[in-house]
């Protein structure tokens, strides 16, 4: 048992009161853990990795040219907090939140704290985090709907706040994610004692956000504003939006009209009542805040002034995070509340004050240096003990002392954990969450525990140990259980009806992404089918065709590949003959080179990135399939492929993944506008594929034996060979194959089948009142294509012009379709996806 005990007697141990002596509220959990035998930690870790993969939880942004994502760091051993301790924290957090609310109102209002000298004005005005344009709003109603605090536990067991999160508190999504993971990992957790559920907090948080809506008491439209998929916490935004039923939107999905923040949807502009803001405030409005921002909404500051949209948290609340306020919090608490501060900070010195600065600088060369130095603006990537202490830091402080604080070095408490090597000890930083609905504050009975990389055979508190917690530096996270050590029966939480989720228009960007996801998925499938067919034809005697027949079919299919992917010149250029004879190099590039526009790797990557940015709209199974595709693609790209056959083998799982994706989106997605756009993209792409295939493979007549082989390959390529033989029971003729692949309504891979579905989707697409389908550009294009295909006469299409050797009727038809279909795509873009035109700034003359 001693393996679990703290190694440093001076620090607090979360789990053990003394070596071998678990704390009461940890006992049943630890008993459970030991009873699993020595393999239990390893098994737990394996299960964790499995679940993490399955959940698709990540902590990293989408970067162009890469599908590598850092999985979410999670340590399955929870942080267990005694209920009585949590209640003490609850009171302290509520007091701090109240204090910060009053301070926010004062700072953006009459500024008594400055005029009465409670805090130095330099702290407020000197460091860029006071947003001058936000001053002067009616402050009476200014609230902090969300608040979070990062806490450490000292050796004596007390908690202290090392930083406050007020401007866009994050972690709610990851906390919920972690709880779901521990639920799966510890199905018999009820035997450990009553663990406080988190669901009520999230429910009341949602209701609380709705209540903030100034003008809509019911069915308020809440938008979670995200910086987008490039942000490393984007997964959390999608997860939270999904879990809480919020619309996820980026800055350019929104606009300000008449001082009112609106979402651009397929149905027009939809007013936003509440913003759950995850974009840092300085980046929210290029008109009045940071001009270079592409993440914000032009006019958002004005929208804040107008007050139609409540913001959680309001713009300007970032200033409360300033660490330089810490030395003044006790005085501020007495000033505003007439109370003593319950939940304290570590003793903090602001170096802008001369005496504090002298005190710190005098001990600069002491060993060990007793202070940790931090910049005023909290930096999450920074270890708890701040910047590394060196000469350059000393110079910076002397130059700009007011930008720094000093506080005694902190030694966070220890907590047991598990990683790939088994049990370990980690240091703990605990983020607690609070939400406020305008009247009442609620503290989450749980939270997000962040832990440092494992202490392995080292003693904690080594002089240069800064205690990093960021996942980038090997930190991890834990679920937090608030638990009683008393034994009382589990109280069933009453089933509450879900808040009614208001109907919300589909953001235009989302519709566009879905459209392209459909297109890229189908395009990838088409490329693989072409590649598979062409490669099979290189093998001798595999399918009973003569060398000449195989050569003919292969050339036509390779040319189709080039035309379809647009990777010119490829197999369609002047030296096509050369390439046909020696296709390997070009094929490898068309398949594997992600930097080549149109390649398979390019299309798959676009598909995966599209899926990642719409994580909130895809079911976890669907995401899992995309994630598998991503894994396969990565593995495939890393291998050296000299042998085309190898490539062919490895394509199997990719094609299966794509088909599973197609199946799931067809079977399991709601038939809403989003699905419609996804399927529209897929149908469009497949129609283009067929038109191209017919044109390149049959556009020019050839010897009868070659044509028969080609027809057979075309049917095989479209999974239609068997059904053709079954239904037609005739020998292969150009006429009947064209009739099947172009005009057979019962064949889901025929061109007419795609166009019929597209017409049906076009019917559903929103249009202005009174406008009929065939007056819309979308409707007209699809109707014209459909009519052309339906009216075409198969025997006429099959005829070749003896002079040119070409099937001129067929070519005419496919070219018409190939001209019309891109127009269909463009009209869809013009009508539905026009979400963010380029903007530019106006200035005045300089004189």
């Amino acid at each position: 048992m001693t393996v679990f005990s703290a190694q440093v007697p001076s620090g607090y141990d979360e789990a053990f009161a003394a070596p071998g002596e678990p704390r009461g509220h940890w006992r049943s959990f630890l008993d459970h853990l030991y009873s699993g035998g020595p393999e239990r930690p390893g098994r737990l870790w394996d299960q964790t990795l499995h679940l993490l993969r399955e959940s698709g939880a990540v902590y990293s942004g989408a970067t162009a040219g890469s599908t590598q994502r850092r999985p979410w760091a999670f340590d399955p051993i929870p942080m267990i907090l005694h209920h009585a301790e949590w209640q003490r924290l609850e009171v302290g957090l509520m007091q701090r939140h109240h204090l910060f609310t009053l301070l926010l109102r004062d700072l953006y209002g009459i500024q008594r704290v400055i005029s009465e000298g409670i805090i130095p004005s330099e702290l407020v005005f000197g460091h860029g985090d006071f947003l001058f344009p936000l001053w002067g709003r009616p402050t009476r109603k200014l609230t902090l709907p969300l608040y979070a605090a990062d806490l450490v536990r000292l050796a004596d067991g007390r908690f202290q706040v090392v930083s406050d999160r007020t401007q866009a508190p994050s972690g709610h999504g990851y906390a919920l994610q972690n709880r779901r993971l521990t639920h799966r990992l510890f199905p018999d957790r009820a035997t450990f004692g009553p663990i406080q559920p988190l669901q009520p907090f999230y429910r009341s948080m949602r209701t609380g956000l709705m209540r903030l809506a100034p003008h809509a008491a019911q069915n308020a439209h809440i938008v979670l504003m995200t910086p987008g998929p490039a942000n490393e916490t984007h997964y959390e935004h999608t997860f939270l939006a999904h879990a809480m039923g919020l619309t996820l939107a980026q800055g350019n999905d929104m606009t300000v009209r008449g001082g009112r923040l609106c979402l651009r949807t397929l149905h027009g502009l939809l007013p936003v009542d509440v913003i759950l803001r995850r974009v840092d405030e300085a980046w929210c409005d290029p008109l009045e805040l940071n001009e270079d921002s592409l993440l914000g909404v032009v006019g958002m500051v004005q929208a804040a002034r107008e007050g139609y949209t409540a913001m959680a948290n309001p713009l300007g609340s970032g200033i409360l995070e300033n660490l330089g306020l810490h030395p003044f919090l006790p005085a501020l608490c007495r000033f505003f509340l007439g109370e003593n501060l319950l939940l304290e900070n570590p003793k903090t010195l602001w170096l802008g004050a001369e005496t504090s600065r002298n005190q710190v600088m005098e001990s600069w060369h002491h060993d060990p240096f007793p202070w940790s130095i931090l910049p005023l603006q909290p930096d999450l990537a920074l270890p708890v003990n701040g910047l590394s202490v060196d000469e350059s830091l000393r110079r910076q402080i002397l130059e700009n002392p007011s930008r720094f604080i000093a506080r005694p070095r902190i030694h966070p408490s220890m907590i047991p954990g598990v990683d790939a090597q088994g049990m370990c000890q980690r240091h703990l930083l605990y983020r607690a969450f609070l939400h406020h609905d305008g009247n009442t504050s609620y503290v989450m009975p749980g939270g997000l525990a962040r832990v440092s990389p494992p202490e392995k055979g080292r003693h904690a508190g080594m002089p240069d140990h800064g205690y990093p917690f960021s996942p980038r530096q090997g930190g991890s996270t834990k679920d937090v259980w608030v638990m009683d050590d008393r034994d009382h029966p589990e109280v069933a939480t009453p089933v509450q009806s879900q808040d009614s989720i208001p109907p919300v228009g589909l953001p235009s960007r989302v519709a566009e992404n879905l459209f392209w996801i459909g297109r890229y998925a189908e395009r990838s499938e088409g490329i693989i089918r072409l590649f598979r067919e062409a490669t099979t034809l290189m093998e001798e005697d595999e399918i009973g065709l003569s060398r000449e027949q195989r050569r003919h079919c292969r050339h036509r299919l390779l040319s189709t590949l080039t035309h379809f992917t647009g990777t010119y010149p490829g197999f369609a250029g002047e030296d096509a003959r050369l390439q046909w004879a020696n296709p390997d190099q070009e094929l490898r590039s068309v398949m594997l080179d992600a930097n080549r526009t149109g390649s398979l790797a390019f299309s798959l990557q676009a598909l995966i990135n599209g899926g990642f940015s719409l994580r909130d709209r895809l079911s976890s199974d669907t995401w899992l399939i995309l994630d598998n595709i991503s894994t396969h693609l990565g593995r495939w790209q890393r291998q050296r492929m000299d042998d085309m056959n190898h490539l062919l083998w490895d394509l199997g799982p990719l094609l299966q993944g794509l088909m599973a994706f197609a199946g799931l989106t067809w079977e399991n997605m709601h038939r809403d506008l989003g699905w419609m756009f996804l399927d529209l993209g897929r149908r469009l792409e497949r129609a283009m594929f067929l038109a191209q295939l017919m044109e390149t493979c049959l556009g020019k007549g050839d010897s009868q034996t070659n044509e028969i082989a080609m027809l057979e390959r075309l049917l095989a390529l479209n999974d239609g060979l068997e059904s053709f033989r079954f239904h037609f029971q005739t020998r292969l003729e150009v006429e009947s194959v064209l009739a099947k692949l172009l005009q057979d309504d019962t064949d889901p891979r025929s061109l007419v089948f795609q166009l019929t579905l597209m017409e049906r989707h076009a019917h559903q697409a929103p249009r202005s009142p009174g406008q009929t389908l065939y007056r819309t550009p979308l409707g007209r294009t699809v109707f014209e294509s459909l009519a052309a295909i339906r009216l075409a006469d198969a025997p006429a299409l099959a005829q070749t012009n003896p002079a040119s050797g070409q099937r001129e009727n067929l070519l005419q038809l496919t070219q018409r379709i190939r001209n019309l279909l891109p127009m269909f795509s463009e009209t869809a873009s013009d009508n539905y996806f026009r979400h963010a035109d380029a903007t530019h700034h106006l200035f005045t003359a300089r004189t």
Binding site: I114, S115, G117, S121, E122, F125, G126, G128, F132, P133, W135, G136, T255, V256, R257, G258, G259, P286, L287, E288, V298, G299, Q302, R305, E306, E399, N400, D837, A838, T839, H840, H841, L842, F843, T844, A845, R846, T847
Partner: protein, 313 residues
């Protein structure tokens, strides 16, 4: 002195602008040395929303949105201003700058003085910059009275910097202005502010107009005036004193104040973000016309929106 000022800003776009959001600071502030008797803002095309409010520094801001597609935006501000100071002021006696510094930074100073402290801190366009120190040391010699030192600074900038329109842009950092020793009035004001702040003194940016006089014997040309910028420094107990480094003068009746802020970024006369349009061509015309001393009209009563009326044509 009484003036009528017409300030027209016109943007022409090669492509249609579908939407624009703007904020303008074109309404002259009211202060001890200046009264704004009338202010009309005319916008074309007609805005869908106009809002007026006072900012943190006491300036008037007019926010507007235009939702209608347009290829041209014209903003015309017409104001009538009474300046309460006249002629060429003489430099008031002032305590040594070190004394002023000490007073500003004393914890128990009065509210107005404490408020001035904000203007001794770095701001978005005037960050602390080592290249300012030599200039500062040149004029802030030990024991030199504050206002005398600031007048020296005004003269020094005028003499050692070339007035060169086009030499700088809005995004030219202060350090580069100091290096190339050339710029326009905004740059000179920023240099002066930076120097004062490097000594811990308070300095603020003023956006405004200067009445210009035509060369002798020539009529004044329409639209020949321009918007202008200078700076003010704070003397506890006496208030703010204006200096114009572009013209090496102490500010007097011919300087008309539009707005004050920490630097240009707080008070751009016109600022906006347009959607579409691709780019813009800008033309500005300013006319500052002195009026007869007697009032030709009764000043409107003070109203919450600053007495502004919005005309659209």
């Amino acid at each position: 002195m009484r003036y009528q000022i017409r300030h027209t800003t016109r943007y022409l776009y090669p492509e249609t602008v579908s939407l624009c959001h703007n904020r303008v600071q074109l309404q002259p502030v009211e202060r001890a040395d200046q009264r704004c008797l009338r202010f009309d803002l005319t916008l074309q095309p007609e805005p869908n929303l106009v809002r007026s409010y006072k900012d943190f520094f006491g300036n008037w801001i007019h926010y507007f949105e235009i939702h209608k597609p347009h290829r041209k935006l014209e903003i015309t501000a017409l104001s009538e201003v009474m300046r309460m100071i006249d002629g060429t002021p003489t430099l008031a006696p002032s305590p040594p700058w070190e004394t002023v510094h000490a007073t500003i930074h004393r914890a128990d100073s009065n509210v107005e003085t404490r408020r001035s402290l904000l203007f001794s801190m770095p701001s978005p366009l005037v960050a602390s910059e080592p290249a300012l120190h030599p200039l500062a040391d040149q004029v802030f010699t030990p024991g030199r009275p504050l206002l005398a030192a600031v007048m020296d600074l005004t003269q020094l900038i005028h003499d050692s910097f070339a007035y060169a329109p086009g030499a700088t842009s809005i995004s030219t950092p202060l350090g580069q202005v100091l290096q190339q020793k050339a710029g326009v009035c905004q740059d000179f004001a920023h240099v002066a502010i930076g120097v004062l702040r490097s000594k811990g003194l308070a300095a603020r940016y003023v956006s405004g107009y200067l009445e210009t006089q035509p060369p002798p014997g020539q009529p004044k040309l329409q639209g020949s005036d321009a918007s202008h910028a200078w700076f003010e420094t704070f003397l506890p107990g006496s208030g703010w004193f204006g200096f114009d480094p572009t013209n090496a003068v102490q500010v007097a009746g011919r300087h008309i104040v539009l707005a004050v802020g920490r630097d240009y970024a707080d008070v751009p006369p016109v600022k906006g973000v347009v959607t579409g349009g691709r780019e813009h061509r800008l033309s500005v015309a300013v006319d500052v016309v002195p009026l007869a001393e007697e009032l030709t009209m009764t000043p409107p009563a003070f109203s919450p929106d600053g007495g502004a009326t919005f005309l659209t044509s």
